[in-house]
Symmetry: C2
Subunit: 230 residues, 2 copies
DNA sequence: AAGTGGTCTAGACCACCGC
DNA sequence: CGGTGGTCTAGACCACTTG
């Protein structure tokens, strides 16, 4: 156990047992450094974790306080579909439905502002049943290698996550009634709810890909976790 | 612009223009420190952001590499319901439905392992229409002040987020068909899909609260963001 | 065994911002 | 203005883990 971990843990305890309550003004770094008998940098190291967790707020001159929040934050992790399926103990299956490129592709999202695109539709199966319909746009300006990829064996989901770095993600989760396409491929009736995940990724402002993933609604849920610290 | 920000930005550029591709082994800290003309600590500061973003992976002895990912991560932020509603420009309304305590409360989640609980059911409105049904358990062992709270004016959602710190959150998102209770309060037909958010929060292993928030499905979506760096 | 990242120190200086 | 947190340095030592 390192010094900063012990100090962080001690601070957590003080918050947990109400010695430090939301809004409470902590001693300065210098003072805490003296109290714990470490260098100022070690105090900063301990606090920075708690700031990231949203438990502390720091402002120059004003000092450090126990946070009063206005929202809940947690980290949403979406694995590669194949691993999601096999992780549930099911047999994974994949089928490429369609690839289009050039003039045939229409950027309905307006996310790519005129970049060259390819569009891919494919289907992921769990134990032979349709699990997810993937409808994806990839910018070949940002990822020229995608042009040479044959997505008949490896899904674009898997290929992109592993091969292409990104620095920004935007995800949208919602439910909508199945349209014709979703109904046909997921083998459900039109109008039945589907759970939709839409995701845009960028690397340094450059749009990489946009994907819409549709699941049969009732059989799907997604989990989020924060602070496995303990 | 601080030194570590410029270095981080330069590193991002090298990843973006494929000079550093996934799996690429970066120079050591010492060498980068010499290259950029700064102390080793400054290099570490620049890299730590990229590690947190998931763009770099570091291992002792093995060195630092551009990450090959196996999943997408992003931060899910769920605001206080009142702010969510007013943020959409709608009129917020709140109604307490029911409070139970002591023996009347049944910990169906088994999340609290025998702690003293109170249960609260309440309804949030947007422009007079039911927006969210909140069904919540609070551990009065962890939050004794909750006992004295009268939740007729301020929702438990709002009170808890602001007053009670937490260090761990677990969230579950899914769609399910409305049961009798959901149907009655949300004014939809039984069996119509509802979008459900379940959340458990803890502070240092101690369970604080469990909440199930139900929305009429089709009118609801939720967004997630990562790396607004830029 | 050796080389890498990780922790820690002691100190200087900076820049924001509340009083 | 002054006090706070934020950045940066130069260096020592540690501990993991791979070859």
């Amino acid at each position: 156990m390192h010094a900063y971990e012990e100090i962080r843990s001690e601070m957590l305890s003080r918050i947990a047992d109400h010695r430090w309550t939301p809004g409470y003004l902590l001693p300065h770094e210098q003072e805490l450094a003296r109290e714990f008998g470490v260098a100022r940098g070690t105090i900063r190291r301990a606090m920075s974790d708690l700031v990231d967790q949203g438990l502390l707020e720091r402002k120059r001159k004003a000092g450090t306080r126990v946070a009063q929040r206005t929202s809940h934050s947690s980290t949403l992790t979406i694995p590669i579909v194949r691993k999601e399926v096999t992780g549930k103990g099911a047999q994974y299956g994949y089928k490429l439905l369609e690839i289009k490129s050039g003039e045939d592709v229409n950027d309905s999202t307006n996310h790519f502002r005129g970049a060259q695109l390819i569009q891919i539709r494919c289907l992921h199966f769990a134990d032979g049943q349709p699990y997810q319909l993937e409808d994806r746009l990839i910018s070949t300006d940002a990822v020229p290698e995608a042009r040479d990829q044959d997505f008949s064996e490896v899904s674009p989901n898997e290929w992109l996550v592993e091969q292409v770095p990104y620095s920004a993600v935007r995800t949208l989760l919602r439910t909508e009634p199945a349209d014709v396409l979703q109904a046909r491929h997921l083998k459900i009736r039109q109008g039945t709810p589907v759970f939709v995940i839409e995701r845009q990724t960028r690397l340094e402002c450059v749009p990489i890909t946009f994907v819409k993933m549709s699941h049969p609604a009732v059989s799907f849920s997604i989990a989020t976790e924060t602070g496995a610290t303990v």
